[in-house]
Symmetry: C3
Subunit: 372 residues, 3 copies
Amino acid sequence: MDEQGEILPPGAASTRIASLELPPLRNAWHVAGWAAEITEGVLARRTVCDERLVLYRGSNGKLVALQDRCAHRWAPLSMGRVEGTGLRCMYHGIKYGSDGHCVELPGQEKAPTALCVRAYPIVERHRLAWVWPGDAARADENLIPDLGMLDDPQWRLYHGHLEYEANYALVNDNLLDLTHVNFLHENTLGRPVQTAAAGEVRPPLARSADAQRLESGVRREGWYPGGRLVATPRGTPDGDLWVRTDFLVPGLYISRGGIYAPGTAAACTGSPPQSRHRALCDGLAVHAVTPMTARRTRYFYLQAFRASDASEEETEAIWQISKEAFLEDVRMIEGQQQNIATHPGLRLAGIAADRSLVMFRGLMKTLLARDK
Amino acid sequence: MDEQGEILPPGAASTRIASLELPPLRNAWHVAGWAAEITEGVLARRTVCDERLVLYRGSNGKLVALQDRCAHRWAPLSMGRVEGTGLRCMYHGIKYGSDGHCVELPGQEKAPTALCVRAYPIVERHRLAWVWPGDAARADENLIPDLGMLDDPQWRLYHGHLEYEANYALVNDNLLDLTHVNFLHENTLGRPVQTAAAGEVRPPLARSADAQRLESGVRREGWYPGGRLVATPRGTPDGDLWVRTDFLVPGLYISRGGIYAPGTAAACTGSPPQSRHRALCDGLAVHAVTPMTARRTRYFYLQAFRASDASEEETEAIWQISKEAFLEDVRMIEGQQQNIATHPGLRLAGIAADRSLVMFRGLMKTLLARDK
Amino acid sequence: MDEQGEILPPGAASTRIASLELPPLRNAWHVAGWAAEITEGVLARRTVCDERLVLYRGSNGKLVALQDRCAHRWAPLSMGRVEGTGLRCMYHGIKYGSDGHCVELPGQEKAPTALCVRAYPIVERHRLAWVWPGDAARADENLIPDLGMLDDPQWRLYHGHLEYEANYALVNDNLLDLTHVNFLHENTLGRPVQTAAAGEVRPPLARSADAQRLESGVRREGWYPGGRLVATPRGTPDGDLWVRTDFLVPGLYISRGGIYAPGTAAACTGSPPQSRHRALCDGLAVHAVTPMTARRTRYFYLQAFRASDASEEETEAIWQISKEAFLEDVRMIEGQQQNIATHPGLRLAGIAADRSLVMFRGLMKTLLARDK
């Protein structure tokens, strides 16, 4: 594997690479939280790409993201108080507006110009709060990926978050190579797709080799007649499985899949199902990976099932299994991180299943080079 | 603000300063503990200015401070045993006298001269144990500030201590600018002095601008007709408040205040109350800030009310509120410290309320330059 | 004391030494665990001399030690699954044989040659698992010390382990100078040998001065008429005590002792007891000190009493006292380590009791020089 992790031909020796860990991509929209969690009066501390932020919702309903340290003597603004659309530092009472400028300095009529804090572009869209930790001038809202599907009322939605003591790139890798579901999640998510004999991997998880490069990510897409979704409600009849999984920079996983009446795959001749094809069961997963610090990552996850496909108990049960599986990921990736931390100077042996993550890391390399 | 933190005129830009954190002043008397806590048989571990000490009271009643590591193989003497006026290391049994010289070496008749540990000047005065971590030859007992008032039997005294995960200079700053009481302690100590409208600060807390420089500290002093002590017993009639607050190097806060019959302020024409003026309510607070390590500080606090002014229940209630307030300080300053630790290369914006701390930091700079 | 810690004559000044802490000796057999703990299916994580290992017992009953990180993307193999004599990584399913070569790569027919992990020489002998973290070509099984006595069915054996947050050399020092039993363990193991007057040390613990150098360690050996074992079952009649304590590189303590009928010492004229001498009470202790990282050490301990000498309750009671004593060692040595860590650039004052540890450190210095 070279620096970008090119896959080695069988028989080749391993190659030294700089690091499996990557610096954060600052000039990008990062998920900072579920918008619904930041209600009025809440001061949410968030570290995004090494920036310590405080998020709050002003009295006008708009989200604000400020640097979480007062310009006066660096007290945390997250220990402050929302007042109208502004935020008051509760150490010595300095109040900032939503643009970060001082609007009130107790006991002094005129504030020095320097008394201001950095405000970060923040956008609430599709249930998520998106923040841009880099150069505000480059923060184009059109770059926020379209998750309009989340607004569809057909879904029964579940979401949560957790933290990894690991570099975000390792978490991305995990989502880019789903062959791990067969092994790491053999007792949870992997159960319905589990291999009969060790060493054999069933589709759709083995399809890493089919990865195509998108402008801002990697796509795997295909029909699997007789396949099952990783989390399929019981009682769903057999049929043709269609799955499309996009992984977008800097760390957004969007997976959409459904089971269709047998024969639909053949009828579509490789193309995605069309609007006239009605899925017997429909599922959606969105995961967002946000770098906090070099070795700490916040992970937001959402799973949605069509209310018409399964009972609430059934979908709740799948959700519980998914959450168990996410903790299996945490344990494994934190172990991987510890090995990387204690043994700098990696030599890795690449395999065929690495194809999509190698593709994605190549894309990240290009973007990181422009991220100065 | 320059290195000493000069206050910026309104409109000025912030200035880079080396650090809000200061090195410890080693050639100074530091409070190492409440004398009453070091009873016979107690071995008190204390870190003062990066020196690890063990304190104990010998059989002659005198306090002793030794370096907390045996000269033999560096075992902690604080795991040892007091024997008479000496201390035995309980690893291999070497016994030291109160001057740090070996007085007994098990299994060997004559001890090598090198087998001795450093003894530190220690003085018990006014309920406190004062230690000099620097050059013993410079340890002049006359430099210990006069806290003789603590020996006055009129007081109902309360004292305690806590630890900050923060550089001591941040804790000093907190005591030097009491405008923070209005905001940080709005629900505890600040309640009686709280502002009606946000942004307005009531005296006496706003009087940072009146600070005068003492030879070894900073004083704020004045009359506030109609003022209240930060912690005033209920039922105290209104009157003229007089407060004097000294902050002495390296970190001693002494605040004395009283409420006097209305008209006393005018009668004194700016001078302190005289002995013929009898306070309606009298209060005293002494806080000592002792650097442990670069980012760890021990904080000793004492509050006293005249037994004649309020019931024990009343003064106990004020004490509970004060302890809550001290924890509010800890949370804020530790947050400030974390921001400083993660963002080296400070740019600060100074304000008028910083005046006394800027003055005090200037004094510390001079002393630290002589502290080699 | 020079770098090796030469003992100072009385009156001499202390000398600066590089460090009390030593690097690990990699080319040596280290105890990695009690063999009985590694049963089939167990994956034991062990760090030995900075190497992270996973140990397991294959289906053929043989122990295996592999590097605890998968060659693919460095996931911990200790989170894997034993399959036959091999080990499968449960992240992406790569399976390794006991020699560390990949034997199965899911979804790919031929594995790259680079896909292999390091296998370490491991030997199960005398109840212990011995591992060689250095150059496998130098791993000669004949270098494993003879602990054949452990296989003798006469013993009632107790064993356990604990961890020190300290460099292994400090733990070795502790076992090399047993005068500490009189002080550190005065309320546990030291009780029966305790000094009447402070400062006086009873044999056999003072006999550090008698240490003789062995090819690979240090021996103290002798007769002590009227002596007692550190842990002697109650009811054992008085007699002549004989003790032999060997401390072997890199950190193995073997102590054998017994009480014989009065007069046996005189009859032996200084030589060890002979086979015709039957001990009234016989004891054995084996401790192994294994460096994990620079400041973390695993400590394995075993104590054995002859079943015929004392009841199970009696020996169990001694075992409980011993375990308390081991925790006394941990607290003291971790305190010593903290002092060393915070005060680099040691000056030590050596004493007569240091003789065996100075001898042993000299031997280690020679071996470490050859350990590149």
